[in-house]
């Protein structure tokens, strides 16, 4: 009975969203708003229970401080009760940075939110500088240095070189250089076409999933 109710509800919401294909309507608006609201609520709860509670409040000992009995002592208890240094105290810095991030909601001291933002940008940029360069530049370049002994290798090398030439704007695209750039455009077009084809396939798949739900799971017409 529960599954019949939940499936019917899900089916109504699915039809409500698909109804936009005909034209905008109140049912679609309702379904859209409901989806946004539920998503926001779900994300908030998820982030609290997966992030804030175990990593910040439990590790620091704030939940214990507030009277929770099924949680072990945290860093604050270790420091002030036992006089021991606990590396989980470092979460305090993360917590303070998190609070500073929220201060952008207070215009007078909103500037303080720039500090945690700078920390995030700096650390992520540093982290990615090496990994991105290694995985997406060096390894790819290395794999383009190939012998011209097969058609595939030839296509790969010509495509890479002409594609790079197209994005070289310090020299006017004329003569042989312009010709190479034009070849580069063709390669780019083929790439975009392949990518678009895959996108169409992906979107169709999502629709097939919903149609299978409507005709199979809900109505039981498809086995």
């Amino acid at each position: 009975m529960d599954s019949v109710f939940s499936n019917t509800l899900a089916a109504i919401l699915t039809i409500g969203i698909i109804s936009f294909l005909y034209k905008d309507n109140p049912l679609y608006k309702f379904c859209e708003s409901l989806f946004i609201g539920v998503s926001a609520g779900y994300w908030f709860v998820q982030q609290y229970y997966a992030n804030l509670l175990p990593k910040l409040f439990d590790n620091l000992g704030i939940t214990r401080l507030l009277g929770a009995e099924n949680v072990a002592d945290g860093a604050l208890q270790n420091l002030f009760v036992r006089g021991q240094w606990d590396e989980n105290l470092l979460y305090l810095i993360a917590g303070i940075l998190g609070v500073m991030m929220l201060l952008r909601l207070v215009p007078q001291i909103g500037w303080m939110s720039r500090w945690p933002m700078a920390f995030i940008v700096g650390s992520i940029a540093g982290l990615y500088f090496i990994t991105y360069f290694q995985s997406n530049a060096m390894r790819q370049m290395q794999n383009t240095i190939l012998p011209l002994n097969s058609f595939n290798n030839l296509v790969l090398i010509v495509g890479t070189v002409t594609g790079i030439i197209y994005f070289y704007f310090s020299k006017e695209h004329k003569g042989a250089f312009g010709g190479a750039a034009r070849v580069g455009i063709y390669f780019l077009m083929v790439t975009f076409g392949a990518s678009f084809g895959y996108t169409v396939m992906s979107r169709m798949s999502l629709l097939i999933g919903r149609l299978d739900f409507l005709f199979g799971t809900w109505l039981g017409l498809v086995k």
Binding site: Y42, W43, A50, N51, Y198, M204, S205, D212
Partner: protein, 283 residues
Amino acid sequence: MEFFEKLMSIDRRVIFLFVGAALIVPLFLDIEQKIEITPEVQTLYDAFMELPPGSKVLMTFDYDPPSAPELQPQAITALRLCFDRNLKVIIIGLWPMGPMQANLALETIFIEKKYLDREPIYGVDYVNLGYSPGNELVIQRMGSSIPSTFPRDFRGTPIEEIPLMQGIVNFSNLDFILNLSAGYPGTVEWVQFAVDRFHATMGACNTAVQAPLVYPYVHTGQLTGLSGGMKGAAEFEVLTGFTGKGTKFMLSQSFAHIIVVLFIIIGNIAYFVTRGREKEKIG
């Protein structure tokens, strides 16, 4: 001529109707479509087959329900392959809904007849460590210590009490990683951190949208096999000898592609014919 002019101003809802019919009708048909196996999916399948029984496979569920039509069949096939070959499965998710998708896939598998008598044992044959926030930083931290990144499993059991997790410290204790990804964080991040930084061996199952972005990683050997979209799911199913939703849905997919290609051709013909007429008028 008027026919082509009408075609140029055809209501988009007519096209939706055709595409919808092309997707729905095949769901009711019992036609078998031949699925060609691509080298990328074959490599992924071979990677599983080369693992000796008892090998530890990390499966990362980095997707949520909207991408399930493409990725859930691949997840079910991969899990079934692992259980059939007695490979030990460790499940995690960098997306909040990922571990729940894994549970749904497990439920689908365990109601099958052959698993009713010998259902894999939780904690021994497989474990779900749940979701951990932090995106790529989770992967980075797993490279140092998996137990400190996932101190408890999905059910709240401390990791040291789970038999399957005994002796697993970092990626060097895992034999293979399979990433099921629908975007960020996903295959790109796993390649950058787990593969290139910690030298893990990894294959991937992606949505079709993401597949073109990660194909270069297969060519360089950073990925050991790739299964992209519903077509990849169907190929993976064919290789494992199981007909699931990937194979079933490919018929709808093919019908819809034919309709889309036909509309592109008709639209182009109509465009060039009407353009010629406009030129004549101007001339």
